[in-house]
């Protein structure tokens, strides 16, 4: 054992002790050590030395802190006071800086709060990172959300990585017997669902194996939100009965509170998924069911994926129905948030651009302000202010700005977040989780601080350089050094570049919206409203009963004054689609080449209600519904063009849905039913009287605004069946609007960002030019004294500004071209490489630069040489 104090303890002591005391206290410690060494030996001495050092640490630290208070903290208070005084002296510039800062920090914070909740944060239940969604793939293509049930059963048994696996599928159910009939989304699940989602049961029980028997009594488990908000957390709910789709269901349990509903928000009625043998449910190749699984602890995603793929390979060899099928898994968090990933990326990029521009702008403004303070800073240096001290003053000023601006921004962020969520088209997964979490606040604070640091970097770099006496003498009138000027120009050029890219993106998005709005959907959306009904199997039994129900509803509606027509329809525009193939009987079965078309069921006179022109033949007539009538279909001109090229389709026979001899009786105009921008898909219309359906939409065309007739429409439906729920009420105009809502939102978002970026860039250009003109007043005076005329002065100033802007424009064009491929995903019918758009934006940028420079240029040209030279 060495006869020296432990080196580590000694250096710790010296590091912590106040510098003046360190040597003495170390010496005293050594003295004690030597004494203990003689009495008790090295081991005890070293141990006591450690103890003494550790005991001393808090005292020494406290002492250090007390001392520093007298210098550092007092100075800090001075710096802060000075920063506030300075802000009062330059109110306009300070307000501009603060506003820019608030704008940037508030938008970054609120977008981060959304992105964090939707994409980044783990799902709010136990060990959610182990939960995955299964997806099937067909011949290596894009993953599909649904699987075949027999495959799912095999995965459950054969993939060791799965601790639990549950089938999940959604449905809708009408709740009756409790006030107004209402429609709810239901979720059908396995008993394993509880384990997969770590769902706690608050009351009663979850499904037991017996509940899944086909003949078992109907049962339902309620989500906690439904129980709380719809049933007032009634304690007696377990054991009560709910009427869903006209069948009584026994409530057997209530789940514990959860912020997360899967597969979609608001799905809070759980039913046991019952598998009926002998139906398509048990067909391999019938992809109808979704699945979630919980991985065993410690299982890597990659190995689980590999196990699943190899099991899928085994199934593919074993079952011909599985040819080309495989499966993969996706963490549930990504599966849930993935659909909005692109939009979130766009949002993040947009606020990133605003942040960058804001930083550049503030740095620019601060640089300008500091040059006006050049003399003050020089005085500080002359009076012995060290470069460190001056830098600290400047940094404190930025930090004070950041504290004030960041504080206001954080206070505003929740409101901005609410506005963003309200403006967001459609529903955002996990929107309920969005809020000002500690993480979000941390992010806002970090951004503010980082901004303060970044914007003061150019200033900090500059201080302590150059000759103090020179600056003292000439004050702010001294011309800037070449390096300073270049730096200022660089800031402005970067601003121009980023703004140009944002403006170009906004113009492309707006052009997309304009283009979509001008596309003819084929049908006439004005004055049309649709809603969905479900014909009761109890009161209108049999397929003829369903047809009778809709006959009565349509007949009633047609009596309402102001109604010009009404039809049933299997799907309204943008409500999804159903496709199938058919065989032309005159050319025979073509195998793979049989024509494919959208299939839509309608009633007589549908073409007048939808506003489709009749091109040839006739439409459905009332007689087509009669039992003895021959099966007929109507096609649209797109299908006529694709499937009956060059021949007259009217009178042709087709085989479809296992039935022969459907006769094509007419051709109507095309319609874009699912997406405005696509090529119009082909349509085949059948009569809902020849193939009755229970669930159908009703479309009503009215002369007054369709919403005004809603009470009458409801009354008619209720007179036919008081128990039926009217759901999915929407006008065609709204449906069209919703279909382009994401585009509108993107255009609006980038438009706002672009306006901000553009404005800030113009401000930046103006500030730099105006400032440069003021600085060069003496030079201008000399030039004018030597005979330069006013026009030439103006030209010189404007050209100087244009040169800087041109560099920025070139860089901005480069950014636009690089990001074009990514941007293309958000555009429809508009090329991201559109030369016209880019050229126009570039020209506009240069023109505005010229205008922004013209005002200071005019001021420069009015310089009176005598005054300019006399000043100083």
């Amino acid at each position: 054992m060495r006869r020296r104090p432990p080196a580590m303890a000694e250096s710790l002591l010296r590091a912590v002790a106040p510098p003046d005391d360190a040597a003495f206290i170390a010496g005293d410690m050594l003295e004690l050590f030597t004494r203990t060494l003689e009495v008790a030996g090295p081991r005890a001495a070293r141990r006591q030395y450690w103890i003494a050092v550790l005991q001393a640490l808090p005292h020494l630290l406290a002492r250090r802190f007390e001392r520093s208070e007298s210098s550092m903290f007092v100075d800090l208070a001075d710096d802060v006071r000075f920063a506030f005084r300075l802000a009062q002296r330059t109110p306009v510039a300070t307000a501009a800086i603060l506003l820019t800062m608030i704008l940037a920090v508030a938008s970054v914070t609120s977008v981060f709060s959304v992105v964090d909740a939707v994409l980044l944060r783990p799902l709010p239940f136990a060990n959610s990172e182990r939960v995955v969604e299964l997806r099937s793939t067909y011949q290596g293509g894009e993953p599909l959300t649904n699987l075949a049930y027999p495959d799912l059963q095999d995965y459950r048994v054969m993939v060791p990585a799965f601790e639990a696996l549950s089938a999940v599928t959604e449905n809708v159910a009408t709740l009756t017997g409790a006030g107004e009939p209402r429609q709810f989304t239901t979720v059908q699940v396995d008993s394993a669902y509880q384990d997969v989602m770590a769902a706690r049961v608050e009351r009663g029980r979850f499904f037991a194996p017996a509940d899944f028997a086909v003949s078992a009594p109907n049962v339902v488990v309620l989500g906690n939100g439904y129980w709380r908000h719809e049933l007032g957390a009634s304690p007696s709910v377990v054991g009560s009965t709910m009427v869903l789709n006209e069948e009584p269901h026994l409530v057997i349990g209530v789940l514990g509170p959860s912020d997360f509903q899967y597969p979609q928000p608001g799905a809070e009625l759980y039913l046991p998924l019952r598998i009926y043998p002998g139906t398509m449910m048990v067909n391999r190749g019938a992809m109808w069911v979704g699945a979630v699984a919980r991985l065993r602890p410690g299982t890597l995603l990659a190995s689980a994926r590999a196990q699943l793929a190899s099991v899928a390979g085994v199934l593919e060899r074993r079952n011909p129905g599985d040819a080309g099928l495989s499966a993969t898994i996706l963490p549930l968090r990504e599966a849930v948030g993935g659909s909005v990933g692109g939009m979130m990326a766009l949002l993040s990029l947009a606020v990133g651009a605003v942040l960058a521009i804001a930083c550049l702008n503030i740095a620019n403004l601060l640089l300008g302000l500091s040059q006006a303070r050049s003399r003050e800073l020089a005085v500080r240096a002359a009076l012995g202010g060290s470069a460190f001290r001056v830098r600290r003053q400047l940094l404190t000023e930025s930090l004070v700005l950041a504290a004030v601006g960041g504080g206001i921004a954080l206070a505003l962020a929740p409101a901005l977040t609410r506005a963003l969520l309200a403006a967001y088209p459609g529903s955002l997964p996990r929107a309920a989780e969005v809020g000002m979490s500690p993480r979000v606040i941390m992010a806002g604070v970090t951004v503010s601080l980082a901004m303060a640091l970044f914007v003061s970097l150019p200033l900090l770099r500059r201080t302590g350089r150059g000759n103090v006496p020179g600056r003292l003498r000439s004050g702010w009138r001294e011309g800037r050094s070449a390096a300073e000027r270049r730096f200022g120009d660089l800031l402005v050029a970067s601003q121009v570049a980023v703004s140009l890219a944002v403006v170009a993106a906004a113009v492309l998005m707006v052009r997309t919206v304009v283009r979509l709005s001008s596309i003819d959907p084929g049908y006439d959306p004005r004055g049309a409203i649709s809603f969905r009904l479900y014909a009761s199997a109890v009161r209108f039994p049999g397929s003829s009963g369903a047809a009778r129900f809709y006959d009565q509803v349509l007949a009633g509606i047609r009596t309402i004054p102001g109604v010009r027509g009404a039809t049933t329809i299997t799907q309204v525009p943008f409500s999804g689609s159903f496709g199938d193939v058919f065989v032309r009987e005159d050319v025979g079965d073509q195998g793979q080449a049989n024509p494919h078309t959208q299939i839509v069921g309608v009633s007589a006179g549908f073409e007048r209600v939808l506003g489709l022109p009749l091109r040839a033949g006739r439409s459905f007539e009332v007689i087509d519904g009669a039992d003895s009538s021959a099966p007929v279909v109507v096609i649209d001109e797109t299908l006529a063009r694709r499937a009956f090229r060059g021949t007259d389709p009217v009178g042709k026979l087709i085989a479809w849905q296992g039935r022969q001899h459907w006769r094509v009786v007419g051709v109507v105009g095309l319609s874009r039913s699912d997406a405005l921008y696509d090529e119009p898909p082909p349509h085949l219309y059948f009569s809902t009287k020849q193939i009755p359906r229970r669930g159908l939409y009703v479309v009503v065309r009215t002369s007054p605004r369709p919403q005004t007739l809603l009470p009458e429409l409801r009354a008619i439906v209720r007179s036919v069946d008081p128990e039926v729920a009217i759901t999915n009420v929407e006008t065609f105009d709204d449906a069209l609007g919703h279909s382009i809502a994401p585009h509108r939102f993107r255009a609006w978002l980038t438009g706002v960002m672009a306006a901000v970026a553009f404005l800030l860039a113009i401000l930046g250009i103006y500030a730099v030019v105006a400032y440069g003109v003021a600085r060069q007043a003496r030079e201008t005076g000399i030039r004018m004294a030597l005979g330069e005329d006013q026009a030439s002065v103006r030209r010189r100033v404007v050209v100087m500004a244009l040169r800087v802007a041109a560099a920025g424009v070139l860089a901005g064009l480069a950014i636009s071209l690089v990001s074009a491929r990514w941007l293309g995903a958000f555009l429809v019918g508009v090329s991201p490489y559109s030369a016209g758009t880019l050229a126009a934006v570039a020209a506009a940028m240069l023109a505005v630069t010229g205008l922004a420079a013209a005002i200071p240029a005019a001021r420069a040209s009015r310089t009176d040489p005598a005054v300019a030279l006399r000043a100083d």
Binding site: A17, P18, D21, A23, F24, I25, G27, D28, M29, E31, L32, A52, V53, Q55, A56, L57, P58, H59, L60, A62, R63, E66, R67
Partner: protein, 112 residues
């Protein structure tokens, strides 16, 4: 104003220890102050606490610090010695008189 301040707690102990060391052959510095307190009280504050206390007392002008000659051994070092200033002496006197008055006739002392 410092002169009228009543010192108390650890600082008072340190002042007293310095005063006790006056007139002995041992100069007053960290180790000796600690030893003196250990001898009289049975336990002593850590060296770190003593140094912090010395710093505070010096800030208040109650003691003056000076450097000793290096100790006359090989590698010997200088010590930071403490002595009472007049203000320190007055403060110590005021504190001890006050405490003596406070303790005089305490029942707990009479009972023991």
């Amino acid at each position: 104003m410092n002169a009228l301040r009543v010192v108390a707690g650890r600082e008072l102990l340190i002042l007293a220890a310095i005063d006790r060391l006056v007139g002995t052959d041992r100069p007053a510095y960290g180790v000796t102050i600690r030893d003196e307190l250990a001898k009289r009280l049975g336990r002593a504050p850590s060296l770190g606490a003593i140094y912090a206390g010395l710093g505070r007392l010096a800030d208040q002008g109650l003691i003056a610090l000076s450097l000793s000659e290096p100790t006359p051994v090989q590698g010997g070092r200088a010590r930071r010695l403490a002595r009472l200033t007049p203000a320190g002496r007055a403060a110590l006197r005021r504190a001890t008189v006050g405490l003596a008055r406070l303790f005089d006739g305490l029942p707990v002392l009479a009972g023991s």
